[in-house]
């Protein structure tokens, strides 16, 4: 039985909070395994969620994957796991195997997509997905569907014209949309100060006449709460919300990047002190909801899941080269 308490005005379902923690740890460990496989030469590319799990899990768990849609970006491993993509599926995509549900091995890793799980396929040019999410939301509004759409992006992407065009469009038409900016302070090497002349991305909301909310990404509960409010507003037909989660990424931009050229190690260590996983675990422990034994059990289970996903994907077949020309145009699925 889930225990219910009241925490800063929010009714808390402890089982849900443990689920939150599980997904944070799972995505972290899966991510770490990917780096290992990359450095072993088994995978040519990794792009990480590490450091942003709190923001991602907070948003995703406040949504309803049965009716809502998401357009994630390449850092959203934790988001897609919560939305139902399995670790095996993630690894199949990572190793570019035939049964990769995102693209059958066609796209780079972390370009998630899963129709059945309401994850819209994404590309590499940033910010296109925000317009897509507005389109998904437009359909929901026009057809009276019950869900909302959420789009995820980094703060660098807010410089793109499509960010502006999408928010403007969604605001004018009061679309059920949440735009989540995972602000980790860097667009690859470019710090936020060279990206925009404002401190908060959320300040941009006023230019569209919509709410802009700043939350601490290392606090999944705060993110969860803000998302719940935004989702309810969207469902009431009051239009979109811009949520800015302040986060940090612990890895370089990707396995092709070397962040030592643009971030100091001191800065990284300071930021790591606010690791969402550590902070959240400590909090659960102070709330007497978590202990070392539970932690060890969880880590063992996660390790098993990650090993299983790795082995499964490593042994899975590659796509057949004869399928190169498939799916350029429509063909009825077998």
């Amino acid at each position: 039985m889930a225990q219910r308490e009241l925490l800063s005005g929010l009714p808390v379902d402890w089982q849900k909070l443990k689920t939150m923690y599980y997904y944070m740890v799972l995505s972290r460990k899966l991510d770490e395994r990917m780096w290992i496989l990359n450095r072993q030469g088994k995978a040519s590319f990794v792009i990480s969620c590490q450091g942003q799990e709190g923001a991602q899990v907070g948003v995703a768990l406040a949504m309803d994957p049965s009716v809502d849609w998401i357009t994630p970006y390449y850092r959203d491993l934790a988001v897609v796991l919560v939305f139902g993509m399995t670790p095996r599926e993630v690894m199949l995509g990572f190793l570019a195997k035939r049964d990769d549900p995102s693209s059958g091995g066609r796209q780079m890793p972390a370009h998630y997509g899963h129709r059945a799980k309401h994850i819209m396929t994404g590309s590499s040019p940033v910010t296109t997905q925000v317009a897509h999410a507005a389109g998904l939301a437009l359909t929901m509004k026009l057809r009276g569907l019950p869900g909302i759409a959420a789009s995820f992006l980094g703060e660098g992407s807010t410089s793109q014209g499509e960010f502006h065009e999408s928010l403007n469009f969604a605001a004018v038409h009061k679309l059920p949309l949440i735009v989540v900016v995972e602000n980790n302070g860097y667009a690859i090497s470019v710090p936020q100060i060279h990206q925009m002349a404002v401190v908060n991305v959320a300040d941009k909301a006023s230019g569209y006449g919509i709410p802009g909310v700043v939350v601490q990404g290392s606090d999944p509960l705060a993110v969860y709460e803000a998302t719940m409010a935004a989702r309810e507003r969207a469902l009431r037909g009051e239009g979109p919300t811009l949520i800015e989660a302040k986060t940090y990424r612990y890895t370089p931009h990707s396995s092709d990047d070397d962040d030592k050229t643009y971030r100091s190690r001191g800065e990284l260590m300071r930021e790591k002190a606010d690791d969402p996983i550590v902070v959240f675990r400590n909090w659960l422990m102070t709330q007497k909801q978590w202990d070392d034994q539970q932690e060890n059990t969880l880590l063992k289970k996660v390790r098993e899941v990650v090993d299983d996903a790795t082995d499964y994907a490593e042994q899975a077949p590659y796509p057949d080269p004869s399928t190169l020309m498939d799916h350029v145009y429509y063909s009825p699925r077998a």
């Binding site: 410089s159 793109q160 014209g161 499509e162 960010f163 502006h164 065009e165 403007n168 469009f169 605001a171 004018v172 009061k174 100060i193 060279h194 990206q195 925009m196 002349a197 404002v198 300040d203 941009k204 909301a205 006023s206 230019g207 569209y208 006449g209 919509i210 239009g239």
Partner: protein
């Protein structure tokens, strides 16, 4: 640049350009309805905004990147009535494009008027680029892009403001908000009342000004230019105004605007109210006014005759200026 005092001469000059623009505009419509000019885009109603802004700049030195409605701005900036008419009629000597572009696609290098295309909001980024060069070259110039409120929905508007604010570029973004993007009213264009509110998202000043009052536009533009020259970055100015005519000679605005609304705005016609003000405040006498109006009429007649007699481009020049020559 020290603040220029609003001398009677300056006020008269402002009026002169506003009235000249209106007269040219009227003539262009006549030529269109006579079948002599294929299409007309008007400044009609926007004259105060355009002339006020132009006069506040270092004309011919600072860059302007106008849009198709900026007839009054470009003539205040030094494009002559003859040149305007050569452009309208697609003549060989049209200095804007040699008869290549549609009318109202301004561009006059001699006066630092940047060439413009038809796709809206591209000019916002160009103005930021001109200002980037000024910042690097330290040439003391300011750039001004003008645009309608409809084009603020374009991504390039956002990219330009963001870029310019990050790099504190000497640029002024002048929005001539007339409430309609062709037929689409502003409320269907944006979920906010004022374009100026967007400035907050870029950490720059957003100023709202009465676009039918050339003096107020002059003052805020001058302030924005000074801020830009001090290296403090861009300003977004929103001039609230109205166009009295359809979007173009191909448009019929009765489909989307009530005649009452148009009549209501016409009570505040900037040319008429400013003329009255100059007389009331004794800047000009009735005789002076009449003389100026006669001069304008003569200039418009001369420009029309000149352009109609001017040669059309030689078809053999079709392939020229694809690359540098």
């Amino acid at each position: 640049m020290a603040k220029v005092k609003l001398t009677p001469e300056l006020l008269k000059e402002i009026y002169y350009y506003m009235a000249l623009s209106r007269a040219l505009d009227d003539r262009m419509w006549i030529l269109n309805r006579q079948g002599r000019a294929p299409v007309v885009y008007s400044a009609n109603g926007h004259e105060a905004t355009q002339v006020g802004a132009a006069m506040a700049l270092n004309r011919g030195e600072d860059w302007i990147v106008p849009y198709y409605r900026d007839l009054a701005m470009v003539i205040a900036y030094g494009e002559t009535p003859r040149e305007v008419m050569l452009h309208l009629l697609g003549r060989a000597d049209d200095p804007n494009s040699g008869g290549r572009q549609m009318p109202a696609h301004w561009g006059l290098k001699r006066r630092h008027i940047m060439t413009t295309g038809s796709v809206v909001a591209t000019q916002d980024v160009h103005a930021a680029g001109l200002a980037l060069a000024s910042k690097v070259l330290k040439d003391g110039r300011v750039s001004l892009a003008s645009f309608g409120e409809g084009s603020t929905s374009q991504g390039e508007f956002h990219e330009a403001l963001n870029f310019a604010s990050v790099h504190k570029l000497p640029v002024i973004f002048l929005n001539e908000n007339n409430g309609y993007a062709i037929s689409v009213p502003a409320r269907k264009q944006m979920a906010i009342m004022d374009v100026a509110a967007r400035a907050q998202g870029y950490g720059i000043p957003g100023v709202i000004v009465d676009g039918n009052d050339p003096i107020k536009v002059y003052e805020v533009t001058q302030e924005a230019a000074e801020r830009a020259r001090r290296g403090e970055g861009p300003t977004l100015i929103e001039a609230k105004t109205y166009r009295f005519v359809p979007h173009s000679s191909d448009d019929d605005d009765r489909a989307y605007r009530s005649r009452e609304e148009v009549a209501e705005w016409k009570k505040r016609d900037p040319v008429i109210t400013f003329e009255k003000r100059l007389i009331d405040e004794k800047v000009m006498t009735q005789d002076e006014l009449k003389a100026m109006q006669q001069r304008i009429k003569d200039e418009v007649n001369d420009a029309t005759d000149f352009a109609e007699k001017a040669p059309l481009p030689d078809p053999s020049t079709l392939g020229r200026y694809v690359y540098a020559e």
